[in-house]
């Protein structure tokens, strides 16, 4: 795998406050990497550093083997799709798309050809003479994409490009972005706070939390083996349930207090007895079972094909569960927490605890 975009130890501070604490990253050619995180985690800053709109405090950015850290944005051969589209309001769709090519001194005929090709690709052929204010939100979004595509850049940057669209359009544009990116094969960085976008669009995800990369992996791996309790809580809806526990002597299980003892299904965790743990279980893994512990339902959220129930365990622990079908028959149910579905995290650091490898 040849790395196309490489970030090495990228730091960014504004005065005393550090926003990014050393990000390392390598994207393969043609890869779509989604940077996801809550607002204020530094994801947009990271994108703007790659674009050259801000300068790094420390570190390097390499694109196709060249160090572009100190280069002007115009000289980086990168195109960006902005959250609010940033179309030039006084220019037609054609001129919006042609502007970058004109500045680069391309011939009229080449500009016309490339703009028309791109417009056809995006279904904008009929709209080339219109001004942005005469377009719908979805059409503006396409023009913003077209403006990036027409330049045939080495790298695409997407800064929450779908967040200004309504829910339905968002789904269809998501699919379209995926299709186009695959087809054009251009390496892409995509920033979003929406976990559905992150899961569906990315070849890999980078989860950012308070300026640090907490996990870099495929979407399924992030979902199935979250690197820490933050990621575990951030990815997945409704969010993962967390319970406090302590490690039992020998590491083979956990003491959940009044809820009883849990025996780890996949092997013992390291650490001294009494180590404080956070146990996580996803709502969809909580099962109804007449032989289980009582669960008092406080809130029912029917979603049609499935239903989310939020309620309490006997000792007052809040818990969410998701079941197929409609609302449950009763206000008090009985549930079981299948041992195999638990994620184990260190309570102090939040880090995932995997079973200790059986020695040799």
């Amino acid at each position: 795998m040849t790395a196309d975009l490489v970030l090495e130890g990228v730091h960014k501070s504004y005065g005393q406050s550090a926003v990014l604490h050393g990000i390392d990253l390598a994207l393969a050619a043609g890869e779509m990497l989604v940077i996801v995180g809550a607002s204020g985690c530094g994801k947009s800053t990271l994108l703007r550093l790659v674009a050259g709109l801000e300068s790094l405090t420390a570190g390097r950015v390499l694109l196709a083997g060249q160090d572009i850290t100190a280069r002007d944005p115009a000289a980086r051969d990168i195109a960006m799709v902005f959250q609010n589209y940033a179309l030039y309001p006084h220019m037609s769709v054609f001129d919006n798309m042609a502007y970058g090519l004109r500045i680069r001194g391309r011939s009229r005929s080449e500009i016309a050809r490339r703009v028309e090709e791109t417009a056809a690709l995006l279904g904008l052929g009929e709209l080339l003479a219109r001004k942005p204010r005469q377009l719908s939100g979805g059409q503006r979004q396409r023009v913003a994409m077209g403006r990036a595509i027409v330049r045939e850049p080495k790298l695409f940057l997407f800064d929450e490009p779908l967040s200004n669209l309504d829910a339905k359009l968002r789904v269809s544009m998501r699919a379209e972005i995926r299709r186009l990116q695959r087809r054009l094969g251009v390496t892409s960085l995509y920033v979003t706070h929406d976990q559905v976008e992150a899961m569906t669009l990315g070849d890999r995800l980078l989860v950012l939390h308070q300026g640090r990369a907490v996990q870099l992996a495929t979407p399924m791996e992030v979902f199935e083996r979250p690197a820490d309790s933050y990621v575990a809580g951030f990815i997945g809806a409704p969010a993962m349930n967390f319970l406090s526990a302590t490690l039992l002597p020998g590491g083979g299980g956990a003491d959940l207090g009044p809820l009883g003892r849990l025996e780890f299904a996949d092997g013992p965790r390291p650490g001294p007895a009494g180590r404080r743990l956070t146990l996580g279980i996803r709502p969809e893994h909580v099962a109804l079972d007449p032989a289980g512990i009582p669960f008092t339902v406080d809130l029912v959220e029917p979603l049609g094909s499935e239903t989310v129930l939020i309620g309490r365990l006997p000792q007052g622990e809040m818990l969410a569960l998701k079941r197929a079908g409609g609302p449950p028959p009763a206000e008090t149910l009985a549930i079981v927490l299948p041992p195999a579905q638990f994620h184990v995290f260190d309570a102090a650091s939040g880090l995932r605890l995997d079973p200790a490898r059986a020695a040799g």
């Binding site: 115009a74 609010n84 030039y88 006084h90 502007y99 970058g100 500045i103």
Partner: protein
């Protein structure tokens, strides 16, 4: 109930409009009357259409104490245009620099300009005259216009417009490869068109209506503006030819009123959005 209120509104607005129009209409009528009849107080609300020649006459030959009115109109127009365009040009450049760059003493520069915001030329008229005399600018067209070009209002207005331009637009342009001057010309100016038009109206009217400074800075009849000319005409107490004075007044009103009414839509939009 709302019908009754509309009726009241029509009454108020109609009365206001009439109060504005009445003096002009009277002036127009007076222009077509005999000066002797005016002196006798025989003003009429009906113009004598066979006497419209008085407008041509003042345009060609002027009146008592002043040269031809076409000449004064030309001086006024040149002065108003020079002031409006000059102010717009220097203000755009300085506002652009202050908003879109960081440079040493940027804040200092801004405050140096900003402090002059409300210091009209009338306040510093005598010392400005002295400085102009030192520069040998008295009785020149530059002297008439340049001191009025320096003021902060336009700079402040443009600064406000520019600050409101979304960051993303600049970012998109930078990624498209636009440099600072290109961005100014291709994006900032077209986007600020309404404010440009509004400011042009304000400054054109400001320039056209100047009185005290031209009175002081240009004594030669060659540089008489039409506003100066009119006051000169009524200054000759004993033999004021009121019909010619009124004809000149009407002519002097036409250009700035046309500018205001013609660009009204932009003017209202740019002015009210800009000041807030």
């Amino acid at each position: 109930m709302s019908g009754c209120r509309d009726w009241l509104a029509h009454l108020v607005l109609g009365l206001g409009a009439a109060l504005f129009l009445l003096p002009i209409w009277l002036a127009f009528c007076a222009a077509t009357l005999d000066p002797a009849a005016i002196d006798r107080g025989e003003l009429s609300l009906v113009p004598r259409l066979d006497h419209l020649g008085v407008f041509l006459e003042v345009l060609r030959h002027g009146g008592p104490g002043v040269g031809p009115v076409w000449r004064m109109l030309a001086v006024s127009a040149a002065m108003a245009l020079a002031i409006a365009l000059g102010k717009i040009a220097i203000s755009i450049l300085s506002a652009y620099a202050v908003v879109f760059f960081r440079f040493p003493f940027r804040r200092t520069a801004f405050w140096i300009i900003f402090v002059t915001l409300m210091l009209p030329v009338e306040v510093r008229i005598i010392p400005t005259y002295a400085v102009m005399a030192d520069l040998h600018f008295i009785d020149t067209f530059q002297g008439l216009t340049v001191p009025l070009i320096a003021s902060a209002t336009a700079t402040l207005l443009f600064r406000q417009t520019f600050v409101a331009i979304p960051d993303e637009l600049l970012e998109a342009a930078r990624m498209d490869g636009a440099g600072p001057l290109r961005f100014l010309w291709d994006v900032v100016l077209p986007v600020s068109a309404a404010n440009l038009a509004a400011l042009f109206v304000i400054l054109f009217v400001y320039g056209w209506n100047q009185y005290l400074w031209p009175l002081l800075a240009a004594t030669s009849p060659r540089l008489d503006t039409v506003v100066i000319g009119i006051v000169k005409m009524i200054g000759i107490d004993t033999s004021t030819e009121w019909n010619k004075v009124m004809a000149t007044a009407v002519l002097a009103l036409v250009p700035p009123v046309l500018v205001v009414v013609g660009l009204q839509r932009w003017f209202v939009k740019g002015l009210t959005e800009g000041e807030k």
